[in-house]
């Protein structure tokens, strides 16, 4: 008997569902305050900049740079057993200084990734109806 290995799936809630819905439509969307325009990730029920509760989601350009990364070589979840090594990264998005997200850098040799590399979003199916926004080296 083989056991199907499920990916680590998000459990969308009222704050996070728009992010995953956007990804399924091939868009990177980030929580944005309707009052002051401040982006924040991960999403929260209140804007940390102006304390407004009027928050929505807005599409971003999907362009950014690699703030940092590491190359996991041990799987801490069975889903990753056959995916090692890969690039786990933090990407800083162009829209706002310090606006960062955890992601993967794909379509490149892990050993070629450098801090500061320009990257652009792309979308990778995770399974079970979810899509991950990930990043690849930016087109010149």
């Amino acid at each position: 008997m083989t056991t199907e290995v499920l990916p680590p799936l998000p459990l969308p809630n009222e704050l996070t569902a728009a992010f995953w819905d956007g990804a399924n439509q091939g868009k990177l969307v980030i929580q944005r305050c309707n009052a002051c325009g401040h982006f924040q990730h991960a999403p929260e029920p209140i804007c940390a900049n102006c304390l407004s509760f009027d928050l929505g989601y807005a599409a971003v350009s999907g362009k950014g740079s690699v703030y940092t990364f590491c190359i996991p070589t041990q799987a801490f979840h069975p889903w990753f057993e056959d995916k090692l090594p890969f690039v786990l990264a933090v990407v800083e998005l162009d829209e706002q200084p310090g606006l960062k997200m955890i992601t993967n850098i794909v379509e490149t040799n892990p050993d070629n990734v450098k801090v500061g590399d320009r990257v652009e979003v792309t979308f990778s199916p995770l399974g079970e109806g979810f899509t991950l926004p990930v990043f690849r080296p930016a087109a010149q």
Binding site: L9, H41, I71, P72, T73, F76, L88, L126, L132
Partner: protein, 384 residues
């Protein structure tokens, strides 16, 4: 700076410490509590406060701990699962004593080996990742080793530091561990080849950058200066202490990984004392990963920004250096006590009970620290 309501450490103790003892969290907690009471020469009825820090998935209750130890009534208690590990218990106890809420407080950090799995261990059997962990785990961000590798990479990119710099810290710290055979799990000195050949967990993070998961409980007893003067041990005093946090809660998303919460805590701590970095004779700097202790060296001002590797390579953190650091061998060697071992070891050095490991410089001022990233704390301890 005049100090009022000084708080002293008067007792320290450990439980049995091992890999998979089979002992429950409560039994470990009881063992370390008794050890600390014996060290202080006091009874449960002398204690009127209990503060515990534990993982949410390994919760240890402060009120249950008090009842288990036969403490008839506590004036102050707090059971925490948030923040900078053992130092949270220490900070609560200091605040309780300095404010008069309690006089003699037992502080505890108890952890089972499996706590090492961090966020992954908090995942229940449910399908789907709740809360903001859903923005990390699907990408493979599961444990501290993942953000740790990313903090190291950022330091390397900003300052040109190398894996050998982190290795130098692991090697220097292991020398102390070899001199502490009863507490250390490791008894052979390390070479740079040993370090570089240890497997990557999350490149550039090596296995030998990681603290050693164990089942342990650590206990310290704090009290007022007045009471401390009448107790068995020479008291060690808190001169200054501080928490610090970043504006971002997620360790992977802090604004500046090379200037995370240790910088906030350090700045605040130094603002509350007349002492300076040059007055410090020994340090106990949290080493959940080796880079953390190195960020503390920079944050506390013992070396320049980005220069912790060169500082360690110079021998400054060795027994005969200007700042002997992690003289028990650190958590990479004595096992994960989640910060408490640094408070215990610096106390032993300052009060003169470190035995064979007593530092030749007869330290009078020590600094201790805990955590990194989103939250951290540090304190200055003095022998008088």
């Amino acid at each position: 700076m005049a100090k009022k309501n000084r708080v002293a450490i008067v007792g320290v103790g450990y439980s049995d410490v091992s890999r998979g003892s089979g002992l429950t969290l409560d039994k470990l907690t009881a063992q370390s509590s008794v050890a600390a009471m014996n060290d202080a020469g006091i009874k449960p009825t002398d204690i009127d406060g209990v503060v515990v820090h534990s993982f949410p998935h390994q919760f240890v209750s402060s009120t249950h701990t008090a009842a288990m130890l036969g403490i008839p009534d506590v004036a102050f208690y707090s059971g925490n699962v948030d923040g900078a590990a053992y130092s949270v218990a220490a900070m609560h106890a200091i605040a309780a004593i300095a404010s008069g809420s309690a006089e003699t407080v037992l502080t505890l950090r108890t952890v089972h080996k499996a706590g090492a799995a961090g966020g992954a261990a908090m995942l229940g059997p449910q399908r789907g990742i709740p809360g903001n962990m859903q923005f990390g785990m699907p990408y493979g961000s599961f444990t501290g080793s993942h953000w740790a590798g990313m903090y190291m990479q950022r330091h390397m990119a900003m300052y040109g530091s190398t894996e050998e710099d982190f290795g130098a810290f692991a090697i220097a710290q292991r020398k102390f561990a070899v001199a502490n055979p009863t507490e250390s799990f490791f008894h052979e000195e390390l070479t740079m080849d040993d370090y570089l050949n240890s497997r990557y967990i999350a490149k550039p993070l090596h296995l030998l950058d990681c603290d050693y998961p164990v089942d342990s409980s650590s206990a310290l007893i704090f009290t007022t200066e007045e009471r401390a003067r009448d107790m068995k041990q020479k008291p060690v005093f808190f001169d200054s202490w501080a928490n610090g946090t970043t504006a971002e809660a997620d360790f992977s998303l802090v604004r500046d990984m090379t200037h995370s919460s240790p910088w906030m805590a350090s700045k605040r701590m130094w603002s509350r004392t007349d002492l300076k970095p040059s007055d410090v004779d020994t340090a106990g700097l949290y080493d959940g990963f080796s880079f953390i202790a190195m960020q503390w060296l920079e944050a506390l001002g013992f070396c320049g920004e980005g220069e912790s590797g060169a500082f360690v390579r110079s021998g400054a953190t060795s027994a005969t250096g200007s700042l002997p650091t992690n003289t028990d061998g650190g958590a990479c060697n004595v096992g994960r006590r989640h910060g408490a071992n640094f408070f215990i070891e610096v106390t032993r050095q300052l009060r003169g009970t470190a035995g064979d490991r007593a530092l030749p410089n007869k330290p009078e001022v020590g600094v201790v620290s805990n955590a990194v990233g989103g939250f951290a704390a540090c304190a200055l301890l003095t022998a008088e």
